[in-house]
C-alpha cells in the first residue's frame, strides 16, 4: 500500500472482529472472536497515526511499544512486530484477548476522541498468534548464574516472573497447588474467550526454552511453607493470586444450588465439566440461573451457564432456560470488559440492574427455589466518586430461580501466609509489597499480581511479575542488596 497521509488514515473505519454467530456459539465452547485475517490486520494498522507522544502507551499498564509494533505490522515485518511487542509483553496472544483495552490503550487512543480508537487489542492478538504459530522470537537463556529462585503460583504474574528469571540464567522452580499451571487463565477464563491451547502453548514453550521446573500438586503453606522454601532458594516470588471467593451474608447461602463463581467456573473450565461424563467432574445449572455481580467473572459465569443450558436442552429436547445477571448498580457501572458485556447480551442473558438479593429461598429438600430481592437506586457519589446503590424501601419481590452463582469478588488465599513469619498483610488480606520492586516486608520474598492488588487484571499481574523479576535479578547478581 502506498504511504497514506494522516487525513486518509483517519478516514479508514475501524475493522470489526469476525465473531461466531451468537445462536451458534451458544451451543459450543469454541472461541467467539475469530481473529483478524492478515489483510484486515494490515488495514487496521494503517489507521494508526504514529503519534509523537503516544497516549495509548500511557494507558497500557506495562507500556507496550504500541506505535512501533503497529508500524512493523503494517510494513509487513511480522518478525519485527513480535520483537517490539516482546520488549514489554511476554504474553501478547493472551493480553490481546483479555485486556480491558477500552479503559487502557484504546481508551487513550487519540482517534477515540472524535471517532473510534485503533483496535490495538485485536492487532496485539494478531501479533501474538503469529508468534505462537511461528516462534520467530526465541526465548534465549543466559549463562547459568548458579542462583536459584522459587516462584509460587503459575498465573500470569508467576509465569512472567519465572520466564524473565529463567532468561537471566537463574534456575527457576515454579510451584503450583493445582494439577496444572496457568492460574485464572486456565481455571477461570473460559475456553470460548481464551482457548487453553494458547495458554499451554506459552507455558510449554517457556518450559522447553528455559528449563523451568514446574512442580504441580504443591500447596505452599502445606506441602512446603514459605520459610522452608527460603532455606532452599535464594529468592521467592509469590504470585498466588486472589482465589478466595466471598459469599453474601444473607440467609440461604448454604442451600443446594448456591455456589461461588469460582466453583462453577472451575468445574466448567479446569475440570471440563461441560464434557461430563467423558470427563468425571459434573457441573449443574438449572433452568433459571441468577448470577450475582457484573464483573468479568460474572460475565463468564452467565455465558457458561447459557452454553450449559443450551447443550443440555439439545440433549433433552426441553426449551433452554433463562440466565439472569443480577447487579445492584446500573448499566454504566458494569466493570466487565465491554466486549464481554456486549457478547453476553447477544447470547441472550437477561440483565437485572439495580437489583440486590436479600435472601435465598429453599424448598423442603434444601434446594434453591427462589430469591428475595430488593430494588436499588443510585445515591450520592461516595469517596471514590462512584454513586453507591441504596435500597428502595418496600420494593422487595421474589424471583424464581433454581441456581444462584455468586460472583462478588475474591481475596487472596491465606494458605501461603501459613508459617511465613514477617510477611505483612493488609486488612484486606493482601500482601504488602513495594509497587516498583515487588519486595515484601520479608527478606528475600517478592510478591505481585492479585495477591498484592486484590482481584485485578491479567496485564497488571504480568507487569508486576516482570518488575519483580527485574529486581530479583539485580538482587541475585548482587546489584541491589536487601536493605
Amino acid at each position: 500500500m502506498a504511504e497514506l497521509n494522516q487525513k486518509e488514515r483517519m478516514k479508514i473505519k475501524r475493522h470489526d472482529m469476525p465473531n461466531q454467530d451468537p445462536l451458534v456459539r451458544r451451543r459450543n465452547y469454541d472461541e467467539v472472536a475469530l481473529g483478524y485475517s492478515e489483510a484486515t490486520a494490515k488495514k487496521e494498522a494503517e489507521r494508526c497515526l504514529q503519534c509523537k507522544d503516544p497516549k495509548c502507551v500511557q494507558g497500557c499498564p506495562v507500556g507496550v511499544l504500541i506505535p512501533q509494533f503497529i508500524k512493523a505490522l503494517r510494513e509487513g515485518d511480522m518478525v519485527k512486530a513480535v520483537e517490539w511487542m516482546k520488549v514489554k509483553n511476554n504474553l501478547p496472544a493472551i493480553c490481546g484477548r483479555v485486556c480491558p483495552q477500552e479503559t487502557q490503550c484504546e481508551g487513550n487512543c487519540i482517534l477515540g476522541k472524535k471517532g473510534e480508537p485503533v483496535a490495538i487489542g485485536r492487532l496485539e492478538r494478531f501479533v501474538g498468534d503469529f508468534e505462537l504459530a511461528h516462534r520467530t522470537c526465541p526465548l534465549a537463556k543466559a549463562a547459568p548464574t548458579g542462583k536459584n529462585a522459587a516462584v509460587v503460583g503459575s498465573g500470569p504474574s508467576g509465569l512472567t516472573c519465572a520466564v524473565d528469571l529463567g532468561r537471566e540464567g537463574h534456575k527457576v522452580t515454579l510451584f503450583e497447588s493445582l494439577h496444572g499451571p496457568g492460574g485464572v487463565l486456565v481455571y477461570g477464563i473460559p475456553e470460548f474467550r481464551l482457548p487453553k491451547r494458547v495458554v499451554y502453548g506459552e507455558i510449554n514453550y517457556a518450559v522447553e526454552c528455559l528449563g523451568i521446573d514446574i512442580k504441580i500438586d504443591h500447596v505452599i503453606g502445606r506441602t512446603f511453607t514459605l520459610d522452608e522454601l527460603l532455606n532452599d532458594y535464594d529468592a521467592v516470588f509469590l504470585g498466588t493470586g486472589a482465589g478466595l471467593p466471598s459469599f453474601m451474608r444473607i440467609p440461604g447461602i448454604n442451600l443446594n444450588g448456591v455456589m461461588s463463581a469460582n466453583e462453577f467456573l472451575t468445574r466448567v473450565n479446569l475440570m471440563k465439566g461441560y464434557l461430563f461424563p467423558q470427563y468425571d467432574t459434573p457441573v449443574k445449572v438449572g433452568r433459571k440461573v441468577a448470577v450475582i455481580g457484573a464483573g468479568n467473572v460474572a460475565m463468564d459465569a452467565v455465558r457458561c451457564s447459557l452454553r450449559l443450558q443450551t447443550l443440555h436442552s439439545r440433549k433433552t429436547n426441553e426449551l433452554p432456560g433463562e440466565v439472569h445477571m443480577v447487579y445492584r448498580r446500573s448499566r454504566d457501572e458494569v466493570p466487565a470488559r465491554e466486549e464481554e458485556f456486549h457478547h453476553a447480551g447477544e447470547e441472550g442473558v437477561i440483565f437485572d440492574f439495580l437489583t440486590n438479593p436479600v435472601e435465598i429461598l429453599g424448598d423442603e429438600k434444601g434446594n434453591v427455589k427462589g430469591m428475595r430481592c430488593i430494588r436499588m437506586r443510585l445515591g450520592e457519589p461516595d469517596k471514590s466518586g462512584r454513586r453507591s446503590p441504596v435500597p428502595i424501601e418496600g420494593s422487595e419481590f421474589e424471583m424464581e430461580v433454581d441456581t444462584v452463582i455468586m460472583a462478588l469478588g475474591t481475596s487472596p488465599n491465606p494458605l501461603v501466609f501459613v508459617e511465613a513469619e514477617g510477611l505483612e498483610r493488609t486488612k484486606h488480606g493482601t500482601a504488602v509489597a513495594d509497587p516498583e520492586t515487588g519486595r515484601t516486608r520479608k527478606m528475600r520474598v517478592w510478591a505481585g499480581g492479585d495477591v498484592v492488588t486484590g482481584a485485578a487484571t491479567v496485564i497488571s499481574a504480568m507487569g508486576a511479575g516482570k518488575r519483580a523479576a527485574a529486581d530479583i535479578d539485580k538482587f541475585l547478581k548482587g546489584e541491589a542488596p536487601w536493605q
Binding site: S177, I216, F247, M259, S260, K272, P277, L415
Partner: protein, 287 residues
C-alpha cells in the same frame, strides 16, 4: 506421576493403596487429607490419610468404591501411576493428653481414625476404640486398631461379627459409665453416623470431633464448594477443617449438600460401566 507401590483388597469394595508421594509424606500428620486425580479426565477426590511413612516417602490411602472415580481407582494395580496427588491438606488433629478418649470409626472411616488413635495413644491417652461396619466382610484393620487401643469394641449392623449394634450404643454406655471419665470423642465415618455420634454425646457435653468429607474440588480454599454451616456461619472444610466440633455442625444442611450431585454420580457410573463393557475391561474388581 505417582506410583502405586502396593495394593491390598480389604473387602469387595474397600481397597488400600500405598502411594509414592514423598512431597506429601514428609509432613503428613494424622487428621489431614490428600487430593488424588487418576488421570487427565479424572475428578479431584479428597481422601483422608490412613497412614504415612516419611522414610519411604509413602502415603497410605483406603477408600470405598462408591462412585465412578473410586471404582476406577480400585481397578488400578501395583506399579501403575496416578497423575496427581496433592497434600497434605487441612489441619492435623490436635493431639494432647486428654485422659481417656474414645475413637469411633465407621465403615471406611476406620482408616482415618487409625492414625488419630495411634497419635492419641502415643501422647499418653487411654484410648478406647469402637469400630463398626455393616457386616463382617466390610471390617478391616481390627488388628491395627487393637494394637493402638487400650480397649477395642467391634460392632456390625447385622451381628455377623462382634456386637450387633450401631457404634453409638457402646459409645453411650462408655459415656454414661462415670468410672471411665471420657474426656473426648473422635468420630469418623458416614455423615449420618457422625450426626448420631454427635447427638449421643451432646447431652453429656463431651467434646466431640468429627472429620467431614464434603464435596470438594480444589481442596485449597478456592471454590467454597466444601462449605459447611456451623452455628456461627459457613466454613470451608478443606482449609478450616476437616475436623470440626460435632456439636456446632448443621447436620441437615451437610447431609442435603452431599446429595446434590447424586444423579450425576449415577450417570457417571453407568457411562463408565458401559465403556468398560465395550472395551471388554473387567467391570467388577476381583479379590
Amino acid at each position: 506421576m505417582y506410583k502405586i507401590l502396593k495394593k491390598e483388597v480389604l473387602s469387595d469394595i474397600i481397597k488400600l493403596m500405598v502411594i509414592h508421594a514423598p512431597h506429601v509424606a514428609r509432613k503428613a500428620k494424622a487428621g489431614q487429607f490428600i487430593i488424588v486425580r487418576i488421570n487427565e479426565f479424572g475428578e479431584r477426590i479428597p481422601l483422608t490419610i490412613a497412614d504415612y511413612d516419611r522414610d519411604a516417602g509413602t502415603i497410605t490411602i483406603i477408600f470405598q468404591e462408591v462412585g465412578k472415580s473410586t471404582m476406577q481407582l480400585g481397578r488400578m494395580e501395583t506399579g501403575q501411576e496416578i497423575s496427581s496427588f496433592a497434600g497434605p491438606l487441612g489441619h492435623p488433629t490436635e493431639i494432647e493428653n486428654y485422659g481417656t478418649v474414645v475413637c469411633v470409626g465407621g465403615g471406611v472411616g476406620i482408616a482415618p481414625i487409625y492414625p488419630i488413635a495411634r497419635s492419641l495413644k502415643e501422647a499418653g491417652n487411654s484410648v478406647i476404640s469402637i469400630i463398626g461396619s455393616r457386616n463382617k466382610d466390610l471390617l478391616f484393620w481390627e488388628d491395627r486398631m487393637r494394637a493402638v487401643s487400650d480397649e477395642l469394641i467391634v460392632c456390625t449392623d447385622d451381628g455377623s461379627y462382634g456386637r450387633r449394634s450401631l457404634v453409638t450404643e457402646p459409645l453411650k454406655e462408655l459415656i454414661e459409665n462415670a468410672d471411665k471419665k471420657v474426656a473426648r470423642v473422635w468420630a469418623i465415618g458416614p455423615a449420618i453416623m457422625m450426626k448420631f455420634v454427635s447427638l449421643a454425646t451432646a447431652p453429656y457435653n463431651v467434646p466431640t470431633t468429627v472429620s467431614l468429607n464434603t464435596i470438594m474440588i480444589d481442596g485449597t480454599g478456592m471454590c467454597g464448594g466444601c462449605r459447611v454451616l456451623l452455628e456461627d456461619g459457613a466454613r470451608f472444610v478443606c482449609v478450616d477443617g476437616p475436623e470440626f466440633d460435632a456439636h456446632k455442625v448443621n447436620w441437615d444442611s451437610l447431609l442435603s449438600r452431599l446429595q446434590f450431585y447424586r444423579k450425576e454420580e449415577r450417570a457417571a457410573v453407568e457411562h463408565w460401566q458401559h465403556k468398560c463393557r465395550l472395551e471388554g475391561a473387567p467391570e467388577e474388581g476381583g479379590k
